[in-house]
Symmetry: C2
Subunit: 221 residues, 2 copies
């Protein structure tokens, strides 16, 4: 039984990779930078998106795609910023896939968009396996989750271009060693850029914003 499932999974992943590639080509054609933002539940993805909107909205046309198992709590929050927001409810699936994202992209006016921020489902496992066509994968790991997470969820850290240590404003109240965590991440993924930030207070945001600007080779952000 398990071998059968594995085969199906490989088929799904391979079909997904094709669709992800098509999404990326669509973004490149329209000079759009697309980010896939992942984390555990409650680690601060929506707050990070709000920070990006605050910083870049004056000069950048931003659209947001929200992935959730259920509800539109986050989409409603972001919708107040007067930018296009598409909510995907995955109806039980633990991650977005390239096909779901394509349907959302088809509902955006791409020629009037510079930056697409995609908030994936809150999960450190399934989201690591599925590309959605992003240029950069950005993960948040929040201080209260603990500094041992790279050992427990290695693929997530291996697959991310940037790792944001979020909620550094509460560092004094938790046993979280930033150096040990950073070493563990670098051990898995030497190319990863690591940014300690607080998406709540704005602390540490500037280096991360600079990284984001540099990531934008074809778009106008």
């Amino acid at each position: 039984m398990s071998i059968k499932i594995l085969t199906i999974k490989e088929d799904i992943l391979s079909a997904n990779e094709e669709k992800a590639k098509a999404n990326r080509e669509l973004m490149d054609k329209n000079h759009i930078l697309m980010l896939n933002i992942t984390s555990s539940p409650g680690a601060g993805k929506t707050s990070l998106i709000m920070q990006i909107i605050d910083r870049f909205k004056p000069n950048t046309r931003i659209a947001v795609i929200e992935g959730d198992v259920a509800s539109s709590v986050d989409a409603n929050k972001i919708g107040q910023q007067d930018i296009p927001v598409i909510q995907i409810n995955t109806v039980g699936a633990c991650r977005l896939d390239a096909n779901m994202v394509r349907k959302a992209l088809d509902n955006l006016t791409l020629e009037e968009t510079d930056l697409v921020l995609i908030e994936n489902v809150g999960n450190l496992i399934c989201t690591a396996e599925f590309s959605i066509g992003e240029h950069k994968r950005v993960m948040l790991l929040s201080v209260p989750e603990g500094d041992d997470k790279p050992y427990k969820y290695p693929l997530m850290f291996t697959e991310s271009d940037a790792v944001l240590i979020n909620k550094i404003d509460v560092l004094p109240y938790f046993d979280f060693n930033v150096d040990n965590f950073s070493k563990a991440v670098k051990g898995l993924n030497p190319a990863a850029s690591i940014f300690p930030v607080s998406a709540k207070t704005g602390e540490g945001m500037e280096p991360w914003f600079s990284w984001l600007e540099k990531s934008s080779t074809s778009s106008t952000i």
Copy 2:
């Protein structure tokens, strides 16, 4: 394609349900209480298990099964308590299933066990769908994750017998409304018992321990 996947998923779930039932019967035959402990990554499952061990070890023969995608960080921690610990590495799967748990149970001396504590993979989605044969499903939601999680991950809350609000020692530093959260949980699952606790400081543990003792109808804890 999506309909095909759904059918396979139903087959898997139905086969799992059979195996879960067999696990439960095996526990009942041996007068063992079995708990399925779930949460997001880093919400405090291992700390809760350590609290249960501290409180019940003098009079109760406890065994622990640890589920992780990778590593044995938690099993090593718990192994220092001089009780049997079985580590299951799911190799990418985002939840334990009844079959994995059965293999672990086969490595325990059941006639010398009163309480089996199973730490599921850190995840609020996949773990909700798979019974492993537990008598009680216990979930932790930690304060830093936010009080909106019942809306986003409803199945997890619907399927849990007890919901522990963990990390109440850091309530002053987060926007978490215990009343609003509890109302949202009760809206989804009126029968759920809710316990605000700190598995770190031990605060609030006694009511939860009492609930646990009452849950034990056939075992000797």
